[in-house]
């Protein structure tokens, strides 16, 4: 155990030294290309990971990653203050129009990884599986008691995400069929917070990235009453048999999609870039969508 932590700190030190060297080298030569990445908070950790690894391999490039939200990212893309925009949802028509007004073209869309959404309940909740329709009724507030879906006779407490999150919008569109969440749904600042709240509340139910795990039980989801219940895991999400999943995107101004930025985007979508996706909590793109 001790040697393990030692190794870990050693690795940390090494990476810090390496990062300093990279920065020092780029300052000295002054010829390093800088790529700025801005946008979705969902993707920010993943993007930082990619940037870190890419910079370690390629000391000619400097990548600055910031979050702030998908909307902020698109605004920066329009103002041309960022090169790449991370997005946890598809770009809206109004935002495309703004981009065309700003630089005359539609931004190019790249799918960069997959995200499966799990539905969590407390570990001692007897309910093991739900259909998509039951989920919709629960989260829109029509089903109010666990008894109606085969659980104990207790009121359901809903935990949701802030409406600024891409996860919220995705769940709303794909599971609630566009209907409103019940007003009584408590909104949490992140998937980890939802998970923690559900773990503490035996009548709670919440949703979030499938790779977040410990503490609560992931429900198996049935598409319809008769279809089989599918557990969320890498195999079912990447194959598409698990019903609640989405793509995460990077958008770029087509005029900037060349040189170092294009090379970086290709690397993200290659096998090497996709290898690190699971560590952060997402799922890699299926093989046919990757760059060779």
């Amino acid at each position: 155990m001790k040697t393990f932590t030692n190794m870990k700190t050693l690795a940390q030190h090494l990476s810090i030294v390496l990062a300093t060297l990279v920065v020092a080298a780029s300052v000295r030569t002054g010829s390093a290309a800088t790529i700025t990445v801005k946008g979705s908070d969902t993707l920010v950790v993943q993007a930082q990971k990619w940037a870190e690894i890419y910079m370690n391999q390629n000391n000619k490039v400097k990548i600055q990653v910031t979050g702030g939200g998908t909307g902020t990212g698109f605004a920066a893309l329009q103002n041309q203050t960022t090169d790449l925009c991370n997005a946890s949802r598809k770009i809206r028509a109004a935002e495309i129009a703004e981009c065309i007004k700003a630089f005359g073209k539609r931004p190019t869309e790249y799918k960069v990884c997959l995200d499966g959404l799990s539905v969590f309940v407390a570990a001692d909740n007897p309910v093991k599986e739900l259909t998509l329709e039951q989920l919709m009724l629960i989260f829109t507030g029509k089903t109010k008691n666990w008894k109606a879906v085969g659980g104990a006779d207790a009121p359901i407490t809903l935990y949701s995400r802030e409406n600024s999150s891409g996860t919220y919008e995705f769940f709303k569109e794909n599971v609630l069929q566009g209907n409103d969440f019940a007003a009584s749904a408590q909104t949490m600042p992140g998937t980890a917070a939802v998970l923690q709240a559900v773990a503490k509340d035996k009548n709670g139910i919440g949703y979030g990235g499938a790779a977040y795990g410990a503490g609560a039980k992931h429900l198996a989801i049935k598409k319809t009453d008769t279809s089989p219940a599918i557990e969320p895991n890498e195999e079912t999400v990447v194959k598409g048999t698990y019903p609640i999943w989405r793509y995460l995107f990077v958008y770029i101004n087509p005029a900037l999609d060349k040189g170092e930025a294009a090379a970086y985007l290709n690397w993200i979508r290659s096998d090497a870039g996709q290898k690190v996706v699971k560590e952060v909590g997402y799922f890699p793109l299926p093989a046919h969508l990757r760059e060779k």
Partner: protein, 392 residues
């Protein structure tokens, strides 16, 4: 004597030279700099308000239209319309329009059509939900059984009703005041009137030290410790609610309320107390019946300032209130305040869009409420001071 006349007619003049003093350019410069800095603070506040109000103005004046159903022009018919019509249709300025070639314009028209195709076929789609009627009044939306006040800004039909947020803010603030005012006032009376001087010496700074706790730490404490504790005591269903957030907010405003109330009580002349004591009242009677009524306007000001601080506080409510936009006066329901809504939602809105502007509208309302409450408190304190000094 002529030099006396210049003396009565004193002017500050260039670096104080005319006053007959030795020139002190550094002091003169420092004085002017400080004046400039304080002036810039006022200008800054004014500019910030101007910015916030400017962003909110289109909604406040009813100039926004969130209706999702509109006339569309097919791309092929582009030639039939005059440039002015096209500019209006696409929302372009003349300069942008000049700079665009035909291909870009066509693309823009296409996007407009795509947006129209995405629009829901709901019966509410044609409503302009940003008008004041929907911002304040109840509406029976499709899919709901009865007219309701709903804040669902990210939705097929954007529902921007502000009432759930007002009620949420008021609920949390009310709990905060009910909790903190008796405590802060009691502490102020004790410290200023009853406590022996050596207690007073460390009690006052100790209470004021509470102000040094960052609100995010307070929020974290409320989220993890207080929420579970109160749920254990009262046994309500939702762990995070207006009550927990209100108590945490109360902790945040106690030092402010205490400090101002204590100042007001201390500024009552000693002669009042001494007179009462000489006439045979107890220390407590003198404090409660003589000093407190005399300082009442100052105490009122303290409460109003506490209100301003509580309604504007963000981090505590964001973390501890549960943030569900329910319309209910039950203190044990989760609640969503105006400040938390702005903090949580602004980052993902489309810049310049309806949601963005409505959040700025909420911001300017908060600004106005906080400004008014501070102004009222300030005026009341000023009046109290001059009354106690016998000027009014």
């Amino acid at each position: 004597m002529p030099h006396l006349r210049t003396n009565t007619n004193r002017s500050h003049g260039w670096m104080g030279l005319q006053r007959g003093h030795k020139a002190r350019p550094v002091e003169w410069l420092a004085e002017k700099l400080i004046f400039l800095v304080s002036l810039s603070a006022i200008v800054m506040i004014f500019l910030i308000f101007l910015f916030v109000a400017r962003e909110a103005l289109p909604v406040a004046l009813g100039r926004m239209n969130s209706s999702l159903v509109g006339k569309t022009i097919p791309v092929e018919e582009m030639e039939k319309h005059s440039p002015a019509e096209l500019m209006e249709y696409l929302g372009l300025t003349a300069k942008q329009f000049q700079g665009m070639d035909k291909e870009t314009l066509k693309d823009l028209m296409l996007v407009k059509l795509e947006a129209a195709a995405e629009a829901p076929t709901d019966k509410d789609a044609a409503l302009n939900t940003t008008s004041w009627r929907y911002l304040l009044g109840a509406q029976q939306w499709s899919g709901y059984d009865k007219p309701e006040l709903i804040w669902q800004p990210v939705s097929k039909i954007h529902k921007y009703n502000l009432m759930p947020l007002f009620i949420g803010s008021l609920k949390a603030t009310l709990v905060a005041l009910l909790f903190s005012v008796p405590l802060a006032l009691g502490a102020a009376i004790y410290v200023s009137q009853l406590a022996p001087p050596r207690y007073k010496e460390w009690l006052k700074p100790a209470i004021e030290l509470l102000a040094g706790i960052p609100s995010v730490v307070l929020g974290f404490f409320a989220l993890i410790v207080m929420a579970s504790f109160f749920q254990g005591v009262f046994g309500y269903q939702s762990r995070l609610n207006a009550f927990v957030a209100g108590i945490a907010l109360g902790l945040a405003i106690i030092p402010g309320v205490f400090s101002i109330a204590e100042d007001a009580l201390t500024s009552v002349p000693r002669a009042y107390t001494q007179g009462a004591l000489a006439l045979g009242s107890s220390k407590w009677q003198a404090a409660w019946k003589i000093v407190l009524p005399a300082a009442l306007p100052g105490v009122f000001a303290a409460v109003v300032l506490g209100f301003g601080r509580a309604i504007g506080e963000t981090m505590v409510v964001l973390m501890a209130s549960g943030n569900a936009s329910i319309v209910s006066w039950n203190l044990f329901d989760s609640t969503r305040t105006m400040t938390a809504t702005i903090a949580a939602e602004l980052a993902e809105t489309v810049f310049g869009g309806h949601h963005y502007r409505i959040l700025f509208l909420v911001g300017s309302l908060l600004f106005i409420v906080a400004f008014l409450s501070n102004m009222v408190a300030d005026m009341v304190i000023h009046r109290l001071k001059s009354r106690l000094e016998g000027k009014a």
